[in-house]
Every structure is written in structure tokens, then in C-alpha cells.
Symmetry: C2
Subunit: 339 residues, 2 copies
Amino acid sequence: MCRPRKHRIAALALLIALVGQRPANSQDPLPSWNDGPAKQAILEFVKATTTEGSPKFVPQAERIATFDQDGTIWVEQPMYTQVVYAIDRVPAIVKAKPELKNVEPYKTIRTGDHAAIAKLPMKDTYALLAAAFSGMTVEQFHSEVSKWFDTAKDRRWHRPYTELIYQPMLEVIRYLRANGYKTYIVTGGGQDFVRVYAEKVYGIAPEQIVGTVGDTKYGYDKEGRPRLTKEPKLMLLDDTTGKPEGIHMMIGRRPHAAFGNSIGDQQMLEYTGAGHGARLMMLVLHDDKEREYAYGPANGLPNSKVGTFTQALYDEAKGKGWTVISMKNDWKQIFSFAE
Amino acid sequence: MCRPRKHRIAALALLIALVGQRPANSQDPLPSWNDGPAKQAILEFVKATTTEGSPKFVPQAERIATFDQDGTIWVEQPMYTQVVYAIDRVPAIVKAKPELKNVEPYKTIRTGDHAAIAKLPMKDTYALLAAAFSGMTVEQFHSEVSKWFDTAKDRRWHRPYTELIYQPMLEVIRYLRANGYKTYIVTGGGQDFVRVYAEKVYGIAPEQIVGTVGDTKYGYDKEGRPRLTKEPKLMLLDDTTGKPEGIHMMIGRRPHAAFGNSIGDQQMLEYTGAGHGARLMMLVLHDDKEREYAYGPANGLPNSKVGTFTQALYDEAKGKGWTVISMKNDWKQIFSFAE
């Protein structure tokens, strides 16, 4: 087909215009980050540890990076997503065990009174999680959680929870992986819960999820087929001191980079920082009320029930040379859906 | 430098002679295996699961293969290597706690009477292992075990324990890995013990060792530096039903191939076999007294204290289509050091 010359010129002009619109820093691996010490720290760490001959070079097999989940790579306010899931499971739990109807925390949850639910003590939350995360095979649990994520939406942005991912952190995860790092999630959340979506959302495989572990029990169904049933028994609480312990059990190597946002991540960052050679320790500070949330004493704000970033943790970070990431100042864009 | 023509011809003749000596099956990925149903089962499984378009094709991310260690990929007779290590640790244990001197099993072990030591009850072995595998940081433990392997030799072949690897199984591990499989050791042995040499010996990284897990405790040394200390507390006994449970915790995916040799591996093979699509389950039968050992009822021989291959397991294998590997008939060569 012969195309008139002026059309070809117009097409060429359009092409030039489109190419011209590409940002100047199209090679920037961290486009959602503003220039500043946090971005600089990441770029310098990766360069130092992956450049052959660099005094800080790290062999590929030892390139381990660990990321807390709630509040570090996705939203944790106003409550942990897995707790929202557990609350939504209450009708099914009570249907299976009607005797729980008038027992706490089920009694309060069944009223639907958000303020009262938010005030339930921590031990009730643990009991609820144990009930919601057990009593079925590992495959049934996977399927239930997967179905829930298909329809559940958060109340602020009205979006699936799996979209409430921090775009800048996703870029860090991908950038580290592109440079030979094995990326792990190290979360206080349930290991099997996070495994349901982590591969799709973060590109992180089930075997790279270190989380709170509930016991499973091997047995057989009525037809004699083997099955693993989730038990309401805690094996590892992967939070605070449990994070380095879980990392040792699941990985067996000390990370070279660790990312967190709360006192639950303190020991993981200390343990990472105590290794020889180049180490990168970073803490996300929630100081952006407009685009996300602002909370924590290190922020001059009252503590929240989740994701406590105390003044003591802030001081330890400063004293040990960890990098504090300001969501407000360091992140150009927070979510992929919001410019 | 100019080389006379006849020398060049001689060199060429030598080259041809050398090339001519290569076995005809130089492309055989399993040269230490005799042709037969076991070798065939491995080759067919790999071909079916890695050929795009094959009805049994398995995506690379799901290619998980698990190997028991003792008696499956290295020698377990006359006693597990980690028990030999623990016995050799007794002087250090008693030095640290002199009150144990006249307590069992230390009292008997200190006599050096092999026959009496072999008769110690299982609970004493567990107590000894707990003592030998705790009371120090994870780095100190790694260093102690590493030093021991540098000098310790077995009493039959007088070789380092890390040479008592079954060459045919090493070929299977490498062959699976070359075909996109992630290879794991799933052992009743101590996870941290196996991690010391597994990368060097089997090419299997620390994060791919699923083993019996002792608790660790996060704390600080006198200078305030973080450390992980090994505690004498069992978190997971990775044997029998503990194997599928450990696989779920550490990997979170059902294996497509599993290799074992005893009732400790029964549930791992059942769990593997209960998955959809292509699955390969294999059991090593020790029936070669000349080149290694012969033991187990399935062999028409009395049970041994380690590596029990019962008649019931043999019958289950036959009934479910698992492949039993005869060391005598299926393996051309057992060790790399012995033709």
C-alpha cells in the first residue's frame, strides 16, 4: 500500500513528539523516588555490592534483601489487612461453632460497631486470627483468602487491597532483584495468608515468604488421601525478636539489606546491620496525611495501634546510620493508581 | 615458538585417542546409573515435565524436588553422621558442664565402648543432639561443625564424611537443577548442621535445607552486639509427618519429585504423590553389602537402628507406583572415589 508523503511526514512528527515525551531519566530504576539521601543510599548500596572489584562486592548467592510488609510495602491503616479478613470470616466461624456467638471477640464483631471493634484488646485479635487461620486444609485456606481478595475493598480508596502497594518500594524490590538479590518478605502477618497474593503482587515466591507460622498437621481424609490441616497453634511469631529468628530458620543467611517501619522491625535491622561489609537498613516514616497516613511519635504524632515507630527507634536509626524514608519528601508517587 | 611438524601430528593423534576414549553416552546425564526402570523413570519424568506443550508440563516456578539426606544421598550406616559429631562433642560438653560426667548418655560415651554406645536408647541420642546443637551462637556452631568435617573420617572407607555421597543421586540432583528444578534437602537431621556443607557438597543453598529445627534466641553480647543463640528446644522434628509439614512451612508448594529411603520419608512421598499432574516418587533400597550396606525387611534382612525400610513401606511403594531403586542393580558406581 502506498501512503501519501505528507502522511508519512505527519507520522514521523508524531513519533518524534512521543519520543520527546519520554522523561529524561527513563533509565532511572527508581522513578517514583525524589532525589535525596534515601534514593541515593539505595543506588549507592546496589552499585557497591554488585560491582566486581568493589571492596564492598557481595557474591550473588549472598545477596539477600528482606522487606517487612505492613506499613513498609503496603498500607497497614486503619487495621492490618489480615485482621479485616479475619473479621469478615466471623460469620463462617460462628456458623461452624455456634457456641462462639456470645463470646468475645465474636460478640462485639457481630455488632458491626467499628469503634468498638477497634478497641478490642490484642489478645482477642490473636484469638480471632488463630480461629480464622485454622480448621481447614492449606488448600482450602488458600482458596478462601484468594476469593476474599477478589472482592474485598478498602474503605478509603475503594480499591482491592492488593492495589494499596507502595510503588516506590515495588521499584526497590524489582531493582534489587534485577541486580541478583533474592527478595524476601519478613512479616508478622500469617505466612500462608501473604503467600496467596505475594507472587502476583510483588513477584515474591511462596518459599520467600517468612511470616508468622501456625502449625500444620499431616493426616488423611475419609478417602485416605493425604492432607495438611492448619492448626490453631503458633509455631513462630515472626515479629520483633522473631524476625531474625525466622530469617535464620527460613533463609539461614544474614540479609544485606532490610526494610521496615516499626518496632516490630527493630531487631531485623539490628541483625542485618551487625553483619560484615555493606549493609543497607531503611525505615519508612509515615508522614504524609494527604496521600496516605501520618502516625508515630517519631513524627511528633500520637502512637497508633499498628506500626509503632517510636522516638527510641528513630534515635537508634539516627545513631546507627540507618536511613529514614520520609513518605512525604522521598516519594514522588505513592500508589500506581494515584499520580 | 615453532613446533616441528611431527610433534604436531603426534599431538593430534593423542587428541583423537583421548576423544575416542570418551564413553559413547557422553551426553547421558546419569552416567552412574545402569539402564533399567529406575533410570528410565527419572529421564521420562524430566522430559514430560519440562517439554513445552507436553500434557504433563510443569511451569518452572513450580518445579520443586525434595531429597531426604541420610541413606538417600549419603551413607547413614553405622550411625547418622550428626550423631558421630555429637559424640565427638562430648568432651567439650562435659568440660562446660562437669556435672554431666556421670550422667547418661555422657557416662557411656566417655568409655569409648562402641557396642555400648550403639545400644543407648533413642531418648539419650536426642538429649545428646540437643546438647551438642545448642548453647552457642549460630556462627560458632557453623564454625565448630565446619572444623570437625575438615578432619573427621568414617571408619570403613577412612574418608571425609562429605565424600560418602552417592554419585548417582548427585547426578539426579544436578540433572533436575539443569532442567529448572529447585532442589531441596528435606532431612530429619539438624537444619543448621546440614547447611554447613550442603552448598559445597550438593550445590544446595542454606535456604533450600529443610531440616529439624531447634529454636534460636535473639539477644545481645556484652558489647551490645546482636546475636542469635541456639537453644536446646525443638521447633520442628522434620521426620515422618514432620516432613510434609516442614515442606509446607519452608517451601509452601507441593514437590513434584521426592526421594527417600525409609519410613521417615513415607509421608513426604505420599504428600508428593497426592498432587495433580506428573509426580516422581523414589525410594533407595540398600541391598549392596559389598559396595555399601544391606539392611531392612524389604531386603529380607533384619531392621537396622537407622533408615528403616519396612515391608509395609515396600508394599505401599509397589501399590502406589513409586519406584524402588536397587543400589546393587541400578547403580553402576556408588561413590566418586570407587569405580
